[in-house]
């Protein structure tokens, strides 16, 4: 297969009367890092959630790893997926949230083991071994028996990344992963994400960290008011933006 990891064509999404996505076209190649930037309310987070079936696409085609999101295509018709199929399809992508969303009643290790054991039903010994490797990778090998609330925000977010990776996703989605962190904790999370990018993971990152976008991403996508205003390599979009809206946004952020 040589298809793109994520392919969006004219993706639309409304909440009630408000149209949040007004026809998104976007391609994310395998092994690439895409950063979505733009003002709040521009639809970046909604689009990210669509990729992971957390929101239903109203119109257009959105496919992940060659298969349509939320629908099954049969005999020229699109059939809405059942919950079970959606849950299965979600396993393609791992997701990291702005507010970590670790399970507070479970230890770090239990957080990581939960889904591989109970959703993927993989053998415990294997999952446990991998969880330890992942914890070491995010630099928290010694914190397996802590509860999330005993950890700093940066540590919690690194655990959240490990938890998503434990499902062996083909694609990682990051929804403003550093926005809820104290400034001095942002670096440790970005470092983990850089490692992951270097290891060849396909990543889509909604972020306000333009330095990170410039350094790590293969593609930067600037969105505003539900459309992709411009996209391309970081040096182009961030260094020499062609659109007025992009320029205006960058001048405010930088």
């Amino acid at each position: 297969m040589n298809t793109a990891m994520v392919a969006a064509r004219g993706v639309r999404k409304s909440f009630g009367p408000v149209e949040i996505l007004k026809g998104i076209d976007l391609t994310v190649e395998r092994g690439s890092v895409t950063c979505l930037i733009g003002p709040s309310g521009s639809g970046k987070t909604t689009f990210l959630r669509c990729i992971n079936h957390l929101e239903k696409v109203d119109a257009g085609r959105l496919s992940v790893d060659g298969s349509l999101v939320g629908y099954t295509e049969r005999n020229g018709k699109l059939y809405e997926m059942k919950e079970d199929q959606t849950a299965q399809a979600r396993l393609d992508a791992g997701m990291v949230f702005q507010r970590f969303n670790l399970f507070p009643h479970m230890t770090v290790l239990e957080n990581i083991l939960e889904a591989p054991l109970r959703v993927q039903k993989r053998p415990k010994a294997e999952v446990l071994r991998e969880a330890q490797v992942l914890l070491d990778r995010v630099g928290l090998g010694h914190r397996g028996h802590s509860y999330p609330q005993e950890l700093s925000g940066g540590q919690q977010q690194r655990i959240a990344i490990a938890r998503a990776l434990a499902m062996k996703p083909k694609l990682m989605l990051f929804d403003e992963p550093t926005s809820a962190l104290d400034p001095e904790l942002v670096g440790e999370v970005l470092d983990v994400m850089k490692q992951l990018a270097e290891a060849g993971m396909t990543m889509v990152v909604v972020t306000h960290e333009l330095a990170f976008a410039r350094q790590v991403s293969d593609q930067v996508v600037f969105m505003d008011q539900g459309v992709v205003v411009e996209s391309g390599p970081p040096e182009q979009v961030l260094g020499a933006p062609r659109h007025e809206r992009t320029k205006a946004f960058l001048s405010k952020v930088l």
Binding site: M95, F97, N101, E114, H142, Q149, E150
Partner: protein
């Protein structure tokens, strides 16, 4: 009286040129900055002057008065012959009373368990996206919370008046399979259990609904993003967290159920209170037997509250840390990683 030697000590501060003090090391501890407007006051605090804590004479006086009153009451209760403590003692472990207490406990445990199971179902229905399900749940809660428990109990006791025969079958004259007479099937005990459970379910539904509502929406998203289906998500992620909010009011419900079971004495079920009533209707020792019953209610409540405490601790895991403890652990972690 313990008097701390001084508020500040050690080499943290040296006298400054203006007569105030200057921190020797920046932010060594929480003393006021040297530029303070109350130069004199800070001089005062920095010297080794003993600090006398504020005294609370009113508090002490109040405590003495209350202790004296409590002691007087205790002495009166102990020495007042009309309490008939000898009768209390002789009936405390009477077989009838013990059996009654056992039945009360049984009614409480069974009705509470059924109420929680049914209540969880009702809470999930109430929160369902299906409007029919949520309306049915709402109507159930409205009805069972809105009518007196005593009336519900008597109603179930007299159910045979409405449905003399209980049968399974198809409606409108289809074939049916008679199970038996309602009077036989729904014994007084059965009526009591039905009444208490169905009533409890309505209250538990509201408690569990509020518990589920207290769980952060991000928890659903995280669980769904990990591929969990609804049943697993509820069972493993949402309900355990809801427990923390659900347990304290449920403890209240258990205690009030324990005492509420005394209502079943109207169905001539020999629970704890009814057993006591039977005895005092024979020997006219009303007060001592009510004391016996009350002592047992207290014992049972105490035991059940103990288990409530244990459960609260169990489901408080990951939440129970105080702010101070958290800060210390975080600092430790920060240096470790």
């Amino acid at each position: 009286m313990n008097v701390s030697p001084s508020l500040t000590e050690g080499p943290g501060q040296v006298p400054g040129p203006d007569g105030g003090t200057v921190p020797a090391a920046p932010a060594a501890h929480g003393t006021p900055a040297p530029q303070t407007h109350h130069g004199a006051a800070s001089d005062h605090l920095d010297g080794a002057i003993p600090v006398v804590p504020l005294r609370h004479p009113g508090r002490v006086a109040m405590a003495v008065v209350l202790l004296a009153l409590a002691a007087l009451a205790a002495i009166d209760v102990a020495l007042n012959q009309r309490y008939h403590w000898d009768v209390v003692a002789s009936y405390l472990f009477a077989p009838q009373i013990i059996t009654g207490a056992g039945l009360t406990l049984l009614l409480t445990v069974v009705s509470m368990t059924a109420g929680i199971v049914l209540g969880t179902g009702l809470a999930v229905m109430r929160l369902s996206a299906n409007p029919i399900l949520s309306t049915i749940s709402r109507a159930y809660i409205w009805f069972f919370r809105g009518t007196p428990l005593l009336v519900q109990l008597i109603f179930w006791y007299n159910i045979a008046a409405l449905y003399p025969v209980i049968a399974l079958g198809l409606p409108f004259g289809g074939p049916s399979w008679v199970i038996g007479s309602a009077n036989v099937l729904i014994s007084p005990l059965g009526a009591a259990l039905l009444g208490l459970s169905l009533n409890e379910a309505a209250y538990m539904a509201e408690i569990i609904r509020s518990g589920i509502g207290s769980v952060d929406k991000g928890q659903y998203e995280a669980a769904r993003a990990l591929g969990m289906k609804r049943a697993l998500l509820m069972r493993r992620i949402i309900l355990p967290q809801a427990m923390r909010v659900v347990l304290p009011p449920t403890g209240n419900q258990v205690v009030s159920m324990l005492k509420g079971t005394s209502l079943v004495s109207v169905l001539a079920i020999s629970d704890l209170l009814y057993s006591a009533q039977i005895i005092y209707s024979g020997n006219y020792q009303t007060i001592p037997l009510l004391i016996v019953a009350s002592l047992w209610y207290l014992v049972l409540t105490t035991v059940l509250s103990y288990f409530q405490g244990r459960l609260e601790k169990r489901y408080g895991r990951g939440f129970e840390l105080s702010a101070g403890k958290l800060r210390r652990r975080r600092n430790k972690n920060g240096s470790a990683s």
